[in-house]
Amino acid sequence: MLDYTAMILAIGPELWLAATALIGVLLGAVLKDKFNAFAFKFGALVLFAAAAFSLMNYQGGEAFNGLVRTNTFVNFAKFVSYAIGGVTLMMSEGFLKRHNTIRYEYALLTIFASLGIGMTLSAADLMTLYMGVETLSLSSYVMAAFHRDSIRSSEAGLKYFVLGSLASGMLLYGASLVYGFAGSTEYVAIAAAEPSVGMMFGMVLMIVGLAFKVSAAPMHVWTPDVYEGSPTPVAAFFATAPKMASMVVFANVMYTVFGGIIEQWQMILSIIAGLSMIIGSLGALTQTNIKRLLGYSSIANIGYALVAVAAGQEFGAGPLLVFMTLYVIASLGLFAGVLSMRRKGGMVEGINELGGLMRKRPWLAIALSVLIFSMAGLPPFGGFFGKWEVLNAGLDAGLLPLAVILVLASVVSLGYYLRLIKIMWFDEPTEKFEAIDGSVTFTVIASAVLTGVVFLIFIYQLSGWAGNAAAGLAI
């Protein structure tokens, strides 16, 4: 007998997403191309409602005999991911219209991907985790190749698919090893099991798989290519909602499943974090394509977030949420900025195309500058506190070398962030960008205000929410 109340409490948003996604498929089958006109608004509405749902059931619960278990920690991530997913969907419509690829499948894929996000976050069992990861990944592969007439987009999709499948295989193999040695696939049961060498092997393989999904070095190579090749709104989605979720899933797995043996994986995660910071910030220095640059910068930022993961649950859980929230909002704004780089001949992606933006579109330039500095973690913008929290977590956990790498990587990263500022403020103006949809401009400015100013002054609020959310993980 199913306990429906418990189900709704635990994974209400996911049930809603699954149901509406199927309704969407039916609508598509019936209405055919007529659905294209409102599929995006439908999808955005569904996602915003899912975000609201995850707040309503914020405390979470357990269902399906322990296959899913949610708490405030994952619900926080769900809320941010769904809300941001909805925003990316709203931004996508105009872009796809102009490229004659406006199809309702895109909106449905975003909903399915979000369903995958929700399932990975709700998972309390390795099987649920794997199913969620695959739901998210398969939707993502298709989205990356959504411009099927474009060679670059197809290449990105294929590359993502091949490498992603490999990583999924690793994750699955690791999970099977863990299952074999611990005797259960349930998080709680594994955590209670006696650690063994075989389990460590499984854990390492799982870390590799998860590190691929969050694009941490040295499993990062797909990121710049996929970001560059995918249609920009798709890259915007990849860089935000799944990033937030995968990071929290990563932390959730490490904290709940392997929380008792932190000394076994702290070093591994520290190395991954350090490598990500170094490779990401050095790699971005020479990029001339804005999407590739943001791809590398996301690798570096994931490295910072991994410092919080490596710090362990006690110190790192809250800071991770604060950092990732600030980061994905800034990332969303910057990708919205990329979406507004449109000339008569189509979209442009070279960073030099931003030349003299300050004189042509001053507010856009100021908003982008705020986002860039915020992402760089430079005061006086909110992003500074993201870095502050992560540094605090790292030093609390005694990871001083990692803190020093973080600091040095920040200096290097300023090299390319400042180059963007220089191009926008110092260089001679290039041709003015075409006007763009209101939703894109709104996203740029809103996210700049949010990360730059609101979360500077009201950082205690965000930090408080994140702290409370992290406290829910302990139960």
Binding site: L378, P380, W388, L395, L414, G415
Partner: protein
Amino acid sequence: MGGFPILSAMTFLPLAGALIIMVVRAATAGSRDETQAGSEGRTALMAGLIISGATFLVSLAAFAYYNPAEPGYQLVEQYRWYQNISYKMGVDGLSITLILLTTFLTPICLLASWNSINKRVTEYVVAFLVLETFMIGVFTALDLVLFYIFFEAGLIPMFLIIGIWGGPDKIYAAFKFFLYTLIGSLFMLVAVVYMYQAAGSSDFEVLESYEFARNAQTWLWLAFMASFAVKLPMWPVHTWLPDAHVQAPTAGSVVLAGVLLKMGGYGFLRFSLPMFPDASHLFQPVMFALAVVAIVYTSLVAWRQTDMKKLIAYSSVAHMGFVTLGVFSFNEAGVQGAIFQMLSHGIISGALFLIVGVVYDRMHTREISAYGGLVHRMPIYATLFMLFTMANVGLPGTSGFIGEILTMVGGFQASTWAAFGAALGVIFSAVYMLTLYRRTVFGQITNPKLNAIKDMNLIELICIVPLALLTILFGVAPNLIFNITEGSALRVLNLMAGG
């Protein structure tokens, strides 16, 4: 006054003004065309002058409420902000003098830009006002994290000022300035996090009374030193300064030399000495050595410069060496002298950059060899230039003398050799400054372009004459400053001694 938050008002007034200017500009953007660009810039400059002037008046009001007889922090405002970080502001004798210097120099900088900045004037004014907020904030903040935010944030507007309105090599200079300063500051950030965790608060007063372990002190001291040494700047991390100064527009150089460099000295006095006394004692010989090297070496380097601004930039490094010497002599004369020297150098070097700017605006070159015989065409200019040359050399009767003699007295009590080395610097400063003066002002006019050069106009006089009056006033009556700073200087030394 009740609970009126005068310090917050003073700090954020320029920022609010900058926002208003930006919004007004955006609102009138439709009615604007290229021909009106000039008048729009003048309007913005006028607005900037009014706002920064008002800020100066507010800072005077704050000064009026400040009681120099009390050594501790005054006019304190405190609100809980985030974790154990609070939004806390307050001033003591050390910070109020530097705040007054800041608010006094900013309107002068804007006025000095009246004729020399002709492109993107509105943005220029906005950048300057934002910079002013951050500079004041550095001195008013009484919370380490708040201080850090202001300290780092100041880099952004200065980066833009150098990068947009600078000379031919501005991009290089702007990047060098930013990255050099940032790398030091980020080490400080790690130290800030450490201190915050150790003491459980980032409040200055809590940190001052918290005793850090000896070993930890050494590392913390080094991390703070990494930041302040770059900012001050000390040899051998001073190389960003000549580039930044030469490329920055005149007003940028003034505020750089006048205020931004002082943050290094302020940091030493505010953090290194009271919070890490053991480490400060440990590193005293190193600091003396670096100070003497800075004074002697950069003086010699200054002598060989062919670019006027570069010469003054190197002389700044040398004069900041006196500040280091005074601060690390750990006695009243030295610390008081260091504070005085910071103030006096802010006025004198600011004025010298303005002086260079006057001829640069006319000739568009800073090469010393392009000048000569200016006295025949510009008598007023020659007089003022002479005054500031003498002040920079440290002639008695000018404020430069008081700062140098006191820091040397303080240094002498701590180390004879350090004072001896510093005294050499005084001689060298006379050598390079007088050489500069002789080659630009005296002699016959050899460059035919100089024949038509005009003497200083009214705006330039309004900028420079107040600085000249202050130089003499503080030179004749230094007690005006000492009375304000005495309590704070003694407080720093008491905290150091463990009181």
